[in-house]
């Protein structure tokens, strides 16, 4: 995984690389949708930069979710969908997180709306968010065992 030559000239990638040399670990373009892989430890800084940079203004957080790539490690990808109000451009960020201790920074300080979206990821995937004000289960009961959207969790549940 790397940045293909035809994408390297995109302003968003160039600006991010100027912001932090490791900010973009990989980039891909599928069906006209740009996806950037961002190291998990940089995700909050990258989002803050994307939101505040006057040329980019990715100020709308559309969604936070995750994908379980089990049994591949790092198994989780936490996926963020951003949209720029100014240009209407969409951007997908993916932060890979290992299955041993899945943990990355919360975006609640940037978008309070991320509160429930991150709780849902925590509930269904078991990914923890640092500095989340109230990280507890959202959809499943508080005493539920396991995280249902993990690939090693059976569809019919544990019996």
């Amino acid at each position: 995984m790397s940045i293909p030559a035809e994408l390297a000239a995109r302003p968003v990638i160039q600006k991010l690389q100027a912001f932090h040399p490791r900010a973009v670990a990989a980039a891909s373009n599928f069906r006209g949708e740009l996806t950037l892989v961002v190291p998990a430890e940089l995700i909050r800084a990258v989002c803050e930069f994307l939101r505040s940079d006057p040329g980019l203004t990715f100020n709308a957080l559309t969604d936070v979710t995750a994908v379980d790539r089990y049994p591949v490690e790092p198994r989780f990808e936490v996926v963020y969908h951003l949209r720029s109000l100014k240009t209407g451009e969409r951007l997908r960020l993916k932060a890979p997180v290992g299955g041993e201790q899945p943990r990355l920074d919360s975006l609640v300080a940037l978008w309070p709306g991320a509160h429930m979206l991150e709780r849902e990821v925590f509930d269904l995937f078991g990914v923890h968010f640092n500095d989340h004000p109230h990280l507890r289960r959202l959809l499943m009961p508080d005493d539920w065992q396991g995280h249902p959207l993990r690939k090693d969790y059976p569809v019919e549940g544990y019996r």
Partner: protein
């Protein structure tokens, strides 16, 4: 003179009140934990999950075409918008072109869905603020829309009418006349509701200046759709990122700047009129031609061909037994559903079942907004605010 009686001191601590999960104004099973100081709300925490059915998990075990009936059940007041978001995502994954007739039909029916949703919203919102007749009138008109859905799909609510590559069935011969009658009837009925509410002093007193949402807060809380447009941001995906041929239709995006309950009401009323306008254009300009893409191996063959052609029979058999496998990749398709941006994020690993289907639920974010809007208001206003943001618990919990 008798000694003056001193009343006992008012306790300084706040009181916790559970609103729901069995409260009629929560439109389902929503529980909001309110912390009250007297009658004023200090803190509000929505508690959800009572209707969680694991739709995203179930989708991972189904073929792509088998997921469509599940999507109906997410937002059961706008099933066709859900069908559309899912079909657009799969079609994007496949790189499939949809014939114009199917696109026009999709636009027509999703606009009727929008009216259907807004009628339920308006009826229940008015009912909670004491205007019972509006509720009855709205459901009377909604019934006519449901009859149209039944006419085309055989189902009033769980339509599953949009399929990957087009539509399930050719609309019946009396479809244009029935829709024409409906579209003629609706604007007059909207006038009736407006006569009852728009300048009604009680309605104004209950809705003006209540639950004000600023544009900055709307972005901070990831709010989209009519709630965002009632706060002065003219963002509508049908204009900003046209899908399903919306660029061919002429319509306005209603915007209000106040951001209060009244503005949310006014935006939705205006939206219903625009939906009639779009539906009228779609009906009058409905192009002839096929209703499904010519994509053997993805779209089921015609029933007649199956009986006469060996190849069609093989495709039918293979599709039903093995499904179809899109290329590996990931796509996001967002549509302007009646409640906001409804998104479907699909991850394919090249197998005939989605590796991951994520539903971006506008209702969930609208419910979350309550924790921002309710504090500082009186308990009675909480009912107006809860009613005004518009959500369906089936979509909140999925």
């Amino acid at each position: 003179m008798p000694e003056p009686v001193t009343p006992p001191p008012v306790p300084a601590e706040t009181m916790t009140l559970n609103l729901g999960p069995q409260h009629p104004s929560t439109h389902g099973v929503l529980r909001v934990v309110l912390e009250l100081d007297g009658e004023t709300i200090v803190r509000a925490a929505p508690d959800i999950g009572y209707l969680h059915t694991g739709i995203e998990k179930n989708a991972e075990k189904l073929y792509y075409s088998q997921v469509i009936p599940l999507t109906d059940r997410i937002d059961y007041l706008a099933p066709l918008s859900n069908n559309l978001a899912y079909c657009l995502a799969v079609e994007k994954l496949l790189g499939l072109e949809i014939p114009p007739r199917a696109q026009w039909m999709r636009v027509l029916l999703t606009e009727l869905t929008r009216i259907n949703n807004h009628l339920v919203w308006l009826g229940t919102c008015a009912l909670e603020l004491g205007a019972m007749s509006v509720f009855l009138y709205c459901f009377r008109e909604r019934e006519e829309i449901l009859k149209i859905f039944e006419l085309v799909s055989g189902q009033r609510m769980m339509t599953s009418y949009f399929r990957i590559g087009g539509l399930a069935l050719e609309p019946p011969p009396d479809f244009p006349d029935r829709v024409d009658q409906l579209l003629r009837m609706l604007p007059g009925r909207f006038d009736e509701y407006e006569d009852l509410l728009t300048e009604n002093r009680i309605w104004l007193a209950r809705t003006r200046g209540v639950g004000v949402l600023t544009p900055d807060d709307a972005f901070a809380y990831c709010i989209t759709g009519p709630n965002l447009r009632a706060s002065g941001v003219a963002l509508d995906l049908r204009k900003a990122e046209p899908y399903s041929g919306y660029q061919n239709f002429d319509f306005d995006v209603p915007v209000r700047t106040e951001g209060d309950v009244y503005a949310r009401y006014a935006v939705r009323m205006a939206e219903m009129r625009q939906s009639v306008r779009i539906a009228r254009q779609a009906l009058d300009g409905l192009p002839p031609g096929p209703i499904r893409a010519d994509a053997p191996g993805i779209v089921l063959p015609e029933r007649d061909k199956m009986k006469a052609e060996m190849e069609a029979l093989i495709y039918h058999f293979k599709l039903v037994v093995d499904g179809f496998a899109p290329p590996p990749g990931e796509v996001y398709a967002g549509v302007e559903s009646p409640k906001g941006e409804l998104g479907c994020y699909l991850v394919s690993d090249g197998s005939p079942r989605p590796w991951r289907m994520r539903w971006r639920p506008p209702s969930l974010l609208n419910v979350q907004l309550l924790s921002k809007l309710l504090p500082g208001h009186l308990l009675a206003d909480a009912i107006a605010i809860i009613a005004s943001v518009d959500f369906v618990l089936g979509e909140v919990d999925r």
